[in-house]
Assembly symmetry: C2
């Protein structure tokens, strides 16, 4: 294998931004979308890195995301702030509301952000990390596409429904987890299918709800949640809180709306932000210092904190540049030169 | 086996209330504690039913819970309401704050209740069911005693850290889940030890962090969370949000404070309440009707919703009475007659 090229994070950011502006996306949105894609690549989350550009361009080409949508902030001064992405990408909507959300959480202790009607393709850790930078704890969740059966069931009703949590740490990367509530990603099953390899037990069921290790049968059946009935319960909660409660799509409706899963999903998202200092005030304790006792003790016994690998990749990338292959660089060139024509059928 | 005796829910409630008032517990607290214990028995949650009376009496006898503590409500009009249990039971503190929490959630969309310094022994579903009756979605969590190792670790740092969620359903029992984030209850490992049976793989590790199926080794080692690193991340979140963030004990400190696990734990608790109608308002949709689409579809494919078994037991109990054995009735008699002397060493 040839030595990969190395590109600086800033250069990659600029290139992705250019791709999206040339594809007709409003400057602010292009910047926000480029930011999360470059961050994914920087953190070696390949599935949320430049790999996502093509998917975004395809939704743009299909006219299923508004390239020039300006997020609309609705803030009536309560603990619930809303931002309507108006059919645009989720990321610019989040950034448009981030300051208001953080300010409100600091004032009232807890605040919620509702993101409406957005094209959602990025990992949730961006949002909870940003809020941790603001000194806030946060919890973020959203539905996706209905590929997952509830525990004991057989028909896909639930999405892979990610859930993310962030907690600020002084002088260190925040405590962040971000995972799908499905036991595996759909892409992993597809990779097994292509390789002609069985999938592990517990990943999926066939159309009759029977366990299967055949990836083809799994893709036509339903995926399962992590953690059995407990994970299924959490995934259902995500549908209710980040779908039904907001009056936005749940995973089944999102799939129906897009007419299949070939395009990235459109739905809403829910982010809760909590100010630990407000919650702890009456105790006289420093909540962040208390949290450190646990987090350092977890590290001290040799257990890995979630996101540790990602943060290590980030440090390497910021120091040495982001490694990209010839094919990846060629694809960036192509997207930059051809715009939406690059993804025309 | 002899036919069990049947006692009505109201009669059982009165008997438990009498036991606690005779044990010196303030009338309002005795009522609140009796209510959750009778409800546990009614729902056939034997581990949270009258089995718990002895544990409560033992903490009272040890002077580790304040029998006459009057919960102190602190409400400064923000989205965070606090109630200080002042070393008393958690349940009267929750009831003292329930109305304020529900009112605030309806006004601001989301509100949090911090319960401080409480003796916590009951299941969390009581609280989320009560809030569902008020038309609110809610999420409740608390630390416990440090018996559980983080994923990849070996020393117990996390509690069994339960998490519960409630969602209102029209004309039906609410959608409620309530589970420990540990893969099994500590009591189940103890039962395996007594029966001389190995525990299933994945329940626990030995002191070196190696998997074990020996219940004795497991009890001296550490339990594991459900769902691998994902469950471990969620359990860590519970420590941070319901321990560190509140300035209340995390599970390790709770264990140190009580000087061992023979008594029920004292710590805080966090409950978030959300008004779906506030969140959905701008969408023009009915969030409860939307939620029904998912919940009825889960039922229609033959999958069981969490708590279904419990609700079925409740319906039987309210119709036919609550079945109790001779031994259980004799124990109620004894506690009623002897008070705290019944649990003297």
């Amino acid at each position: 294998m040839a030595e990969p090229h190395r590109i600086s994070h800033d250069d990659l950011l600029t290139r992705i931004e250019t791709i999206f502006t040339r594809a007709g996306v409003r400057a602010d949105s292009a910047k926000a979308v480029a930011r999360v894609i470059a961050a994914g690549e920087r953190d070696n989350c390949k599935s949320h890195g430049i790999y996502r550009i093509e998917g975004c361009l395809r939704v743009l080409a299909a006219g299923k995301v508004e390239p020039d949508a300006v997020p609309e902030l609705h803030d009536s001064g309560t603990a619930v702030i809303e931002v309507d992405a108006r059919g645009g990408f989720a990321n610019p909507a989040f950034y448009a509301a981030r300051q208001a959300l953080a300010d409100r959480a600091r004032k009232t202790g807890i605040a919620a952000l509702v993101i409406r009607d957005c094209l959602h393709f990025s990992a949730l850790w961006h949002d909870v990390e940003a809020l941790a930078e603001d000194g806030l704890a946060s919890l973020s969740m959203c539905p996706s596409y209905a590929f997952v059966a509830p525990a004991g069931g057989k028909e896909p009703l639930l999405g892979t429904n990610p859930i993310a949590f962030g907690w600020p740490r002084p002088g260190a990367h925040p405590y962040v987890f971000d995972f799908a509530t499905s036991v595996a990603a759909r892409g992993e099953i597809e990779l097994h299918r292509r390789a002609g390899k069985p999938i592990p037990e517990g990943w999926a069921v066939d159309r009759d709800g029977q366990p299967t290790t055949d990836p083809e049968v799994a893709l036509n059946g339903a995926m399962l949640t992590f953690g059995g009935h407990k994970g299924s319960a959490i995934s259902t909660m995500v549908e209710l809180l980040a779908g039904a409660m907001l009056g936005e799509f749940m995973s089944k409706e999102a799939l129906d709306f897009m007419g299949g899963a070939s395009l990235l999903p459109r739905h809403g998202a829910l982010i809760l932000a909590l100010d630990p200092h407000v919650f702890a005030a009456r105790s006289g304790r420093d909540p962040i210092a208390e949290g450190e006792k646990l987090l350092t003790a977890i590290g001290a016994q040799g257990a890995r904190l979630p996101s540790e690998r990602r943060f290590a990749a980030r440090e390497r990338a910021l120091r040495d540049g982001i490694p990209l292959t010839d094919a990846e660089l060629a694809q960036l060139d192509r997207f930059e030169a051809m715009g939406l024509a690059a993804v025309a059928e």
